[in-house]
């Protein structure tokens, strides 16, 4: 019965007071209470300027509180009701942010696990949201940051492919490595791992005894990235095997960078 009485307390409040109360909670960073108060506001005053503002801040509160699922569904409901709202761009941008952290379970953040090695469905959705911001609202103030995040996400996808290529190379499955490397060149042109992919192709062809293709691939690499370690023979540098015995060793990608640094 306790819960009901708290609800009734908000029942009679005028909209401005309710909004004030929720806003203060936001400022204090008390996200879940703010969310609940905003929800009560929307339920009691289903129309008027405060409602739109309340819906916007509910989504932000949910995003900050970490429940990204609810944030995305609140955003979707807002877009459905106010398709031409003036800062729709903000909503798509927030949706992108929520989706890119959606699967980052608590543990993942603590141990900085590499999202590129996990299911990429949510980051893919985030990429589409940011793309919509960039295409539909190119001159909104979120476009530049959205564009930047898209580049990062593309590199995340490319890293996933590259890690798999390196895995297949380590296993000696050269044809699998070659086809994935080619996939990187075709699907993510100009990504961070463009040259690594060409190096992988060269390595695979050499192992397959296909000198002609190997030589050409090596020449292309020489042109694009003369200092690439493959040319000097010390690529890929797989992490030392001993790390496999230390459970807290963290995930180091043979592509050389520490595990992916995600957004700020």
């Amino acid at each position: 019965c306790g819960r009901n009485s708290k609800e009734d307390a908000d029942e009679g409040l005028p909209v401005t007071e309710l909004y004030e109360k929720a806003h203060n909670q936001m400022v204090r960073g008390n996200w879940s209470d703010a969310e609940r108060t905003f929800k009560r506001l929307v339920a009691q005053y289903p129309y008027g300027p405060y409602t739109e503002q309340a819906l916007m801040e509910t989504a932000y509160a949910q995003f900050k509180a970490g429940n990204h699922e609810d944030a995305v569904s609140t955003i979707d409901r807002f877009i459905r009701t106010y398709p031409t709202h003036r800062n729709i761009a903000y909503f798509y941008y927030l949706r992108g942010l929520a989706n890119s952290n959606r699967d980052a379970v608590f543990l993942q953040r603590v141990w900085s696990l590499d999202p590129s090695r996990r299911d990429l469905a949510s980051p893919q959705q985030a990429y589409d949201d940011f793309a919509r911001v960039v295409q539909r609202y190119p001159n909104s103030k979120y476009a530049p940051d959205a564009r930047q995040r898209m580049v990062e996400l593309r590199n995340l996808f490319a890293r996933h492919e590259m890690d798999t290529v390196l895995y297949y190379m380590r296993r000696g499955a050269w044809l699998s490595a070659a086809s994935r490397a080619q996939y990187i060149l075709e699907t993510y042109p100009q990504s961070e791992f463009q040259n690594d992919a060409v190096a992988a192709l060269a390595a695979s062809y050499e192992a397959l005894g296909n000198e002609a293709l190997a030589a050409d691939a090596r020449r292309v690499l020489q042109l694009n990235d003369p200092q690439h370690p493959f040319l000097s023979g010390d690529w890929p540098d797989y992490p030392m095997a001993i790390r496999k015995l230390n459970p807290f060793a963290g995930e180091v990608s043979p592509t050389g960078n520490r595990s992916a640094t995600r957004d700020r």
Binding site: V42, Q44, P46, T84, V105, R118, D119, A173, S176
Partner: protein, 794 residues
């Protein structure tokens, strides 16, 4: 009101409350400056209704201004559901939300009507034909409404009568054996087979059809099926009438089409022969084995069409199996979905199918089984979608659903007896999604300390060589385990190496050093233990320990295997130079049969034998009792004067000779124990087997364990009792005992019990509860019918 065409100079919208004017403009089909006529007016009204925001829309004209007056639909303030038991509220609210009925949404009477109809249909599907669903809408101020949906479910209609007419050659009893719609019987609460549903009935009709087609009745036909219900809508009646037709035999069976492999190889896979009675299931099995064989070498889209030509007069049928191999297919990419915690490589390393390689169905099936055996996933599903734009390339998509694979308990406490107690027990099979098994245990209190760490990387090399190590330092009070009373401080460091030798079997090598310091308490520790320690001459037992193991595992799942077998034999020895030289042989075996989708049988065996090798140590003990004396003359006995030193060397002939003790056989702290949740349930943990003489308050002596263990389990698992995979109920018969060496083995000393057990994989860790009735016991056995374990491995 008819509107003559006019050019619209401006548009005004009245009656807007919640919806912004801008929003309405986007949906309006007409703009300023365009002409407005009857058709456009109609189109406008329809467009605005389609938005679902408005209850009423009217179009009017004031001079050249187009005036649209709208009445907004109310918003839903509160949505309550009462009386629904069969379908849970969350599922309902989720469903309502999809239809657009949720708090804060605009209320739409049509949607409410659709929901009521949908709910009725769902309840009818569950056999609840008497359901009454009454939605009530109560308006509030500020154009809001409260919606309550009251559900009166009523009783489910039960199937009372299933009758098939015209089945002269077989008894209805056999035919209806595995139907899903059966007359309500005593088992119906579990099999839920007395609830009618159209899908179940059509499935059963298909079973009826197959029953006859599998026995040669080619002309079999189901003439009519009737479903009727009693006037009170509580009993259901299913009737079907059939014409059997004649039994046909196979006159000739041949394989045609491009068989890829030599013709005779494929023909060997065809089970039915000319002259046999026609049987569709045998034909299907033959077709399956042909398509399987072809799909194992790249022909993923292989198909076999059995073309029968019947000869009505002599009732024979000639069958032509047309093999259509289709193109040889390559796998382009292998993609994993659903692994939010498990890393991609941990899954990929289990794959037997490679990318940019020819398709092998056997490899893909094997990969699915290997993923299911990891224990990280609740379900593993495989799809092989064709790659768009190519005729001979497919992708392989593995969809996994992750689950908790281990346990994590953290405890802090304080008690006068034990002072500050802190305990952390973490064991994860898939630590941080890296596929490594890590378990950490740290327990600290005033009287007991325990620290253990073990780690295993199953893929230290890419080929599956596993490497791991265990370290622990433990103080154990064995009386906690209901066994003989003595303490031991045990420290060990071990390395474990696993070498795969075939796809299903592997060899394991363990090497380690450990020391075990025994603390006995004269008067409460059994005499045999004290003698043993005295015989060995020292309380700490150092050992260079090695174990050589061989294991073969063909089970098809980690949590609930339904097929396959697991067996492991391990020879553990302490190397010469250890304080005591002994060996222990462990043999584990369990086998799974799926008798019926709802019944899986598991038989298990757990045998162990240990003995010392090398010569026994014999020692004579000499000892003269000391005496108590009043040293400071105050009349109080206050000091103890030890007796003279025992004579050296102590011989039976020495004056203070007490007795000769011999240390032979398996050391007591390495004894096997039986009884308890992981061996013979229904008996207290570790209390079966030989007991010491009455000592230390144990009138019947303390359990010593034995050097020979023979324990077996027969268990029937009911996978269908719970919908979720996290819980498993089983009925079991356990039997077993431990003996002191081979010669004391005595079959009727075996204890046995029967009961039921529940295993639940809670988020915190596996919990098992079992209730067992020991039906073969001897008086004096310590019975414990209800037993409960928490955490620990599987």
């Amino acid at each position: 009101q008819s509107v003559e065409p006019f050019t619209v100079s401006d548009i005004r919208i009245d009656g807007l409350q919640r919806i912004a004017a801008g929003t309405v403009f986007t949906y309006l089909p007409v703009e300023r400056g365009e002409t407005m006529d009857q058709a456009a007016a109609g189109e406008t009204i329809r467009a605005l209704y389609r938005t679902g925001f408005f209850e009423d829309v009217a179009v009017d004209r004031q001079g050249d201004i187009l005036v649209i007056t709208v009445k907004e639909r109310p918003a839903i303030n509160k949505l309550t559901l009462t009386g629904n038991k069969d379908i849970k509220t969350e599922d309902l609210t989720k469903g309502l939300q999809d239809i657009g009925l949720a708090e804060g949404e605009t209320f739409d009477r049509l949607a409410l009507d659709r929901v009521t109809q949908e709910l009725t249909r769902q309840y009818n599907n569950r056999g609840k034909y008497n359901v009454q669903i009454t939605p009530t809408v109560s308006p509030l101020d500020r154009n809001r409404v409260d919606v309550t949906i009251d559900v009166k479910e009523g009783k489910a209609a039960k199937i009372r009568h299933v009758n098939v007419i015209g089945t002269d050659s077989f008894s209805n009893e056999d035919i209806l054996a595995n139907w899903e719609s059966r007359e309500s019987g005593w088992l119906s609460w579990y099999r839920r087979d007395d609830q009618y549903s159209r899908e179940k009935l059509s499935g059963d009709m298909e079973k009826l059809n197959s029953w006859y087609l599998d026995r040669g009745y080619i002309d079999f036909s189901i003439d009519s099926t009737q479903v009727s219900i009693s006037p009170e809508k509580r009993d259901m009646y299913l009737t079907a009438s059939v014409t059997e037709g004649e039994v046909y035999t196979i006159s000739e069976i041949k394989v045609t089409g491009d068989t890829v492999l030599p013709q005779d190889q494929i023909e060997r896979l065809v089970i039915p022969k000319a002259g046999d009675t026609f049987s569709r299931v045998l034909l299907e099995l033959s077709a399956d084995s042909i398509t399987n064989t072809l799909s194992n070498i790249g022909y993923a889209f292989a198909r076999v069409n059995p073309v029968p030509t019947t000869n009505r007069e002599d009732r024979t049928v000639a069958i032509n199996l047309q093999v259509v191999p289709g193109p040889r297919v390559n796998v382009r990419r292998i993609v994993f979905k659903g692994n939010t915690r498990t890393s991609d490589e941990v899954i990929r390393r289990e794959m037997r199918q490679f990318e940019n390689a020819w398709y092998s169905q056997a490899a893909i099936d094997r990969s699915k089984i290997r993923l299911q055996r990891l224990g990280y996933f609740e379900t593993v599903e495989v799809e092989t979608p064709a790659v768009a734009g190519t005729s001979d390339q497919v992708d392989v998509v593995f969809n996994v659903k992750e689950t908790t694979s281990g346990s994590f308990v953290f405890g802090l406490g304080y008690s006068q007896l034990a002072g500050m107690t802190a305990s952390i027990q973490l064991s994860q099979n898939n630590f941080l999604g890296g596929g490594n098994r890590v378990s950490v245990e740290a327990q600290r209190s005033d009287y007991m300390q325990r620290y253990a760490f073990s780690y295993l990387n199953p893929f230290f090399t890419d080929e599956g060589l596993s490497l791991g190590y265990n370290l622990w330092w433990r103080e154990l009070d064995y009386s906690d385990f209901n066994t003989a009373q003595y303490n031991s401080t045990n420290a060990a460091a071990q390395a474990v190496l696993g070498l795969p030798i075939t796809e299903h079997s592997s060899i394991s090598l363990l090497g380690g050093i450990d020391s075990n310091q025994i603390q006995t308490y004269p008067g409460s520790t059994p005499q045999s233990i004290i003698d043993y320690v005295n015989a060995v001459g020292q309380r700490t037992f150092h050992a260079w320990r090695t174990e050589l193991g061989w294991a073969r595992d063909t089970r098809n799942d980690f949590f609930m295997p339904t097929r396959g077998m697991y067996q492991r034999i391990g020879l553990e020895t302490t190397l010469p130079g250890s304080t005591v030289e002994y060996f222990k042989i462990n043999y584990e075996f369990s086998r799974y049969w799926m008798l019926h989708p709802a019944f899986v049988l598991r038989t298990g065996l757990d045998l162990g034998y240990g003995d010392s090798y090398g010569d026994d140590t014999v020692r004579n003990l000499c000892w003269t009792p000391g005496s108590y004396v009043d040293s400071d003359g105050d009349g109080q006995i206050d000091t103890y004067v030890p007796g003279p030193a025992p004579s050296e060397p102590c011989l039976p002939s020495s004056p203070d000779y007490d007795k000769t003790v011999v240390a032979t056989g398996l050391p007591f702290f390495e004894n096997f124990y039986a009884g308890g949740t992981r061996s013979v349930r229904g008996f207290r943990d570790n209390t079966l087997g030989p007991r010491s003489e009455p000592t230390g308050g144990y009138s019947r002596g303390q359990p010593l364990g034995g050097s020979l263990k023979t324990v077996g389990q027969i268990e029937m698992v009911f996978p269908r009792l719970f919908d979720s995979k996290a819980a498993r109920v089983s009925a079991f018969v356990d039997f077993g005992n431990v003996y002191d060496g081979w010669d004391n083995f005595d079959a009727n000393e075996l204890r046995a019990s029967a009961g039921v057990a529940l295993l639940w994989r809670a988020p915190v860790g596996p919990i098992s509860i079992s209730y067992a009735y020991p039906f073969k016991k001897k008086d004096g056995d310590e019975i414990e019918r209800l037993q409960f374990t928490f955490g620990g491995g599987f």
